[in-house]
């Protein structure tokens, strides 16, 4: 799907973040009721969906360990030939004058500026909407939420034309600037700030003569930390995985992010006279998803401790 992945992404984690689950209380109750008898049948049925989710990833890992000839003539879901993972990784990094490294650095640049900036703007704006009354607030909110339903494609062509007149296409800015807006990040921070920051605390700070900016950085920002991490994680995924925007904006391979680069390697095999590098496409794909999967697994832990802390507070 096109540009929608970013926005809705913030919803689920946001929910978990906003309302720390009273997990301890809940499992205790269930325990006393003696209800959750573990079911082998239900576990087996759910395991089918787990298999469906994991088999393609297993395929990717297995095939990243094969040489190109073996890719073509061996069974896809098992290892074959000599273990070529390290060779493949080395080739991926060095192929075509280390272009993969360049793409990786570009992606990191887009993620740091795009996702970091998007989170920053969403935190400021969400806090403003949640904790201040000002004329036009409802209108601001309605316009931003209405914009969510506008398909990314409706914006892509005019944005490209505008940016090319401004001389921004083919530069990192063409990818970074549109990534700075995350309506759902804003929505999420609005809900989160409303719940996590007590008005009395802000009143007390004002009475003590603290300026609004100082109050924001000293008092509000730390309280919003779990929400910020959540928005940051999902805007990071959106920027890291972005395809449509750089596809339109960037023509120079030196500014490609990983996603466009990988696709160009794949397309290379189908163009006449192009050199097929399927082993590099597959290994490059694996290298592209490893950082995000690692981040999700690590943040899973972070959430769990956050949730535990939440239930203790209650």
């Amino acid at each position: 799907m096109a540009a929608d992945t970013a926005a809705p992404g913030t919803a689920p984690a946001g929910r978990t973040g906003i309302r720390p689950l009273p997990r301890a209380a809940r499992s205790a109750r269930r325990h006393t009721a003696g209800r959750p008898r573990r079911s082998v049948l239900l576990t087996a049925l759910t395991a089918i969906v787990v298999l469906y989710s994991l088999v393609p990833l297993a395929w990717l890992v297995i095939n990243a360990c094969k040489t190109q000839p073996k890719l073509l003539d061996s069974f896809g879901l098992w290892f074959s030939g000599h273990f070529a993972l390290w060779d493949n990784i080395r080739d991926t990094f060095t192929y075509n004058d280390h272009i993969f490294v360049r793409w990786l650095l570009n992606t990191l640049l887009y993620v740091v500026l795009g996702a970091g900036g998007a989170t920053f703007l969403a935190v400021l704006g969400g806090y403003g909407l949640a904790k201040f009354d000002f004329p036009g607030k409802r209108a601001v909110f309605a316009v931003v939420i209405g914009a969510v339903a506008v398909p990314g494609a409706a914006l892509a062509v005019p944005t490209f034309l505008m940016f090319s007149k401004m001389g921004l296409t083919n530069t990192p800015w063409a990818v970074v600037i549109p990534s700075l807006i995350s309506p759902f990040g804003l929505y999420l921070m609005w809900v989160f700030a409303a719940e996590a920051i007590p008005d009395e605390l802000l009143e007390a700070a004002r009475m003590d003569g603290s300026g609004e900016l100082r109050t924001f950085f000293r008092i509000s920002l730390p309280l919003m930390a779990p929400g910020i991490v959540t928005v940051l994680l999902f805007t990071m995924v959106a920027t890291w995985n972005n395809y449509f925007l750089p596809l339109i904006m960037i023509k120079d391979p030196n500014w490609y992010p990983l996603t466009i680069g990988l696709n160009s390697w794949n397309a290379q095999a189908t163009t006449a006279g192009g050199q097929p590098v399927f082993n590099l496409v597959i290994t490059g794909s694996l290298l592209t998803i490893v950082p995000l999967i690692a981040a999700f697994l690590l943040l899973q832990r972070y959430w769990q401790s956050g949730l535990a802390a939440g239930s203790v507070k209650e």
Partner: protein
């Protein structure tokens, strides 16, 4: 401090009133705008300006003779009579009607299973099913495309080893289903998390009351859990509708593996892209994009209305 503060506050607001800015409340208003302004400035640049610009573009036409001139609603008339546009629109419509219910159904069943507390290894299940969400659409499509394809083909291997005759997933008649499978794979876990998070915040008291009434698991699901997460169901449906209408990445990437099965107007989004970047028909591309945007918003709005009415 506690004694001083109210007086300081009163003094400040009096001074404020004299200055005519409404005192602390007035200053707070300014501060509120101050916090939201950075977002709004960028928002105007990357959302409002392009929308206004594409409406402007859609009213003009660039021709070899006569150059760029105003044509009113001619582009829109052309779009409504455009076979390629309708073909793409009906394809994503079909996709929406088939793929979205399957994906959301699986997501809901898994979320209910996780929430039931009857699974072994619940946390492992939850994170495993969610993981594909972290995989970029490009990688997901390349991966599945290779598995579908003749070169690395898992499908071919299965046919060979089990003597079955599964159809070619990249043939014109199956490619839409194959794309549906990729999209389902990518987003089942994400929707599952939305539902699961909504299920987790259902108040315990509801379950206790149901237990006292002697309600069984299925009854609890039908009478408590599903109504309680209706909001999440509506939101997930709307996102999926928007996603379906915007379908682009998967067909665009799969095109190099299945050039004969995927046309340049396979989806409306692909159509605007080819119109604009292969055909240089920016004005018409903007028109098609606007029509798609309006269609999407109407469908999303109707779903929302329906969802809310049922709730009442």
């Amino acid at each position: 401090m506690a004694v001083l503060s109210p007086r300081a506050e009163a003094g400040r607001s009096a001074a404020g009133r004299r200055r005519g800015d409404g005192g602390p409340a007035g200053r707070r208003r300014v501060a509120g705008w101050g916090f939201i302004t950075p977002f709004l400035v960028v928002f105007a640049l990357v959302f409002l300006a392009p929308i206004a610009y594409s409406i402007y573009l859609s009213l003009f036409r660039d021709q070899l003779i006569g150059g760029n001139h105003f044509v009113g609603l001619d582009n829109y008339t052309q779009a409504f009579q455009d076979h390629a546009f309708w073909s793409g629109l009906s394809r994503v419509g079909l996709f929406l009607v088939v793929q979205v219910p399957i994906m959301l159904g699986i997501a809901l069943l898994v979320a209910l299973a996780l929430d039931s507390g009857r699974l072994y290894g619940r946390d492992f299940f939850r994170i495993s099913i969610f993981l594909p969400y972290a995989v970029p659409a490009v990688v997901a499509t390349l991966m599945w495309g290779f598995m579908y394809g003749k070169r690395f083909g898992l499908v071919a291997s299965v046919n060979q080893h089990l003597h079955t005759s599964l159809p070619d997933p990249l043939s014109p008649s199956w490619v839409l289903a194959s794309i549906g499978n990729i999209v389902t794979w990518e987003f089942v876990g994400y929707n599952m998390l939305i539902f699961y998070a909504a299920l987790r915040v259902i108040p315990e008291s509801l379950y206790e009351a149901a237990e006292i009434d002697g309600a069984g698991q299925w009854r609890i699901i039908a009478a408590i859990k599903l109504p309680a997460i209706r909001g999440a169901l509506v939101i997930a449906t709307i996102f999926s509708i928007i996603g379906s209408f915007q379908l682009f990445n998967e067909p665009s990437i799969l095109k190099s593996l299945a050039p004969n099965a995927i046309t340049t107007y396979f989806t409306p989004n692909l159509y605007t892209y080819s119109l604009s970047f292969s055909g240089q028909q920016h004005n018409y591309a903007a028109t098609v994009a606007i029509v798609m945007g309006v269609v999407t918003m109407i469908v999303a709005y109707v779903v929302q209305l329906r969802g809310m009415r049922k709730e009442a």
